[in-house]
């Protein structure tokens, strides 16, 4: 993380933060409690596994019109169980949202809807005579657009996962400080350069 107040110079109305967290009981409660306590306005929060069983990964989308994303980042950073935080809003990153949309169909609209879905490279994952479930993955804007297109047919039910994000390229982000040999972190002073501060 860095101390520059990036949320004020960017024009984005949403900011995307990615956090690596220790996979311990109660970490989600701590994060949720922080957001409530500091009155942070969060659009979405997703949590999932990483390749390490000890580490989970959160993607947090902040409504930057109401909440200073830099303050969210700094507050997350200082939490003991949060290993590292990155604001990836301006990084070249892959950002994906997944939605399941149950939409009304009838004999007349079925093929129309399926053609529409095809344009979005979405999939029909369940179908019956008067409804189908559509699965779509993509940036939020694409998902929003499909939802808008399907709305006139009648959306019965919808669920979205919230955004997940990953920076492009072959870089590996472990969030861990450089190895300090056999010393316990108690004895060592952190390397400021590695923290980017």
């Amino acid at each position: 993380m860095a101390l520059v107040d990036r949320s004020s110079d960017g024009k984005e109305t949403t900011r995307v933060l990615v956090a690596l967290v220790e996979n311990k009981p109660g970490v989600l409660t701590r994060v949720a409690s922080l957001f409530r306590r500091r009155n942070f306005n969060i659009e979405s929060l997703t949590v999932g596994h990483t390749d390490s069983p000890d580490i989970s990964r959160m993607t947090i989308v902040v409504d930057a019109t109401k909440t200073n994303a830099a303050m969210v980042e700094r507050n997350l950073y200082k939490m003991v169980n949060i290993i590292d935080v990155q604001d990836v809003t301006q990084s070249p990153a892959v950002m994906r949202d997944l939605a399941l949309i149950k939409v009304k169909i009838d004999g007349q609209t079925r093929f129309e809807v399926m053609q529409l879905i095809d344009v979005y490279r979405a999939k029909v994952v369940d179908i019956c005579s008067d409804s189908m479930i559509v699965e779509v993955t993509g940036p939020e804007a694409k998902v929003n657009s499909l939802v808008d297109m399907l709305r006139p047919y009648g959306i019965i039910e919808m669920v979205r996962t919230g955004l997940v994000a990953m920076v492009r390229g072959s870089g590996y982000w472990s969030g861990m400080p450089p190895e300090n040999g056999n010393g316990s972190p108690v004895e060592t002073e952190p390397d400021i350069v590695s923290l980017g501060m």
Partner: protein, 563 residues
Amino acid sequence: MKRTGAQIVWESMMREGVAVVFGYPGGAIMPVYDALLDYPVHHVLVRHEENAAFAADGYARASGRVGVCLATSGPGATNLLTGLADAMMDSAPVVAITGQVASSLVGSDAFQETDVTGVTLPVTKHNYLVTRVEELAGVMKEAFHIARSGRPGPVLVDVCKDVQFASTDFDYDAIQVRLPGYRPVMRGTEEQIEEAVALINASQRPIILAGHGIILSGAHDELQSLAEKAHIPISTTLLGIGTIPESHPLNLRMMGMHGEAYVNQAVQAADLILALGMRFDDRVTGTLRTYAQNAQVIHVDIDPAEIGKNVVADIGIVGDAKNVLAQLLPRVEYQERADWFAQIDEWRQDTTRRDILNREEDASLHVPFVIDQIRRSINGSGQVTIVSDVGQHQMWAAQYFRHERRNRFFTSGGLGSMGCGLPMAVGASFARPDEEVWVIAGDGGFQMSLPELATVAQERLPIKIAVMRNGYLGMVRQWQELLLGKRYSGVAISSPDFVKVAEAYGILGMRASEKSQVAEVIAEARSHPGPTLIDFVVEQEANVYPMVEPGKALHEMLRRPLA
């Protein structure tokens, strides 16, 4: 070697250098209390768990070490809350150990079960629920490390009762603390320091705002050196009192809601604010809309989340104040700034003339007079720690007791918790057994923790308690008078005969209701080897001035009327 969980609690504490703990036993912590008998740790039985947390807080502030409090599950643990919240707000290193119901019963609403890690989450720096004895020693080591490092704060360890009974191998020294997400940043980057130095050296009207962080990092020398070398006036926050002698010519003294007017005028007129280990609390800034509008801000704090929280920093430096000051020191240059200092002196001019509350010729007994008499009495034989409760007397203690020595003023700053005074003094008295400890309290706050007189008596602590009895919850009354048209609501408070109360506890009780009696009772209290209580019957409706009304700009102060 094999140890039970209960033994591990004490073994770990001994290795962390803990010699005294403040607590109250109960069902879920009984194994720990049983094991206590085999360890040379002094247990102080408080009369309410809240005061155990305050005592640990006071011990921590006075010793610079981690203060420890103990409580049982359920009500014992929930009673700790206010003291923990206080330690959290004022960054005091505290470890709280609480008993919890057996791990098999967690979540079943068992007798005296409360979700303690849940309820303490927002008021602790970190907390743990220990359900396996194998985890306990590592958790203890982490708890002490987290409590005292970085920005200090309270850490709670909730230990299930079966864990206290169970045994495991114990080797404290072999435990490696692995906290990959906990890496406090200790010093500024080269770029930040360079930019800060350029601003400091170019500034015409700079001011240093020194906070509690200076004390916590032990940066007193560096602060004074920097101020002297660069020739910059200093103002302190309430908890920054004791960072630099109050008689130092560069120390303008306390800023904020009840700071002297010239100090706040200087802040408002400054072209550079160098904020060191302080967090721009609303009691310091007044309304942010008009706060220090001409100033560029360099904000140094060890907590990254403080930077930009209330006041936008032109340069934010995350780091330990002592390190950052040492980085700045060689590069700052002396500037005369004659106009600036002359201007501040001009603003300062009528301040003494307005100081009517302290006048000898005024017949009524005012708190500032009492505080000033205590100061005069101690002056020269200056081994005294002042612990203040919360309210009008707290502000007067800050204004009128001029601290020449370091870290001699403790009070609940951020949380403003009434009742903190006596229990914090109990803790401070254990941390400084050779020093005179005074409590300044009002009749409201004192009655909140009055049962701790029994603790004082049982432990034979030579604490001197000055109760300023005006028959009102004074600060609330003052606001009702000044802001709500004198509609007094819920502020009249009666008190028992404090002299008799003291005597009932075996404590020397005295009373002073006239100015002529004050010096005498103070002298008598000081010469008495044991605890003493003085009931000062003071002016009922006196106000603390100057005062920035809530929501007003810092320079729009209600001044003391001119004499």
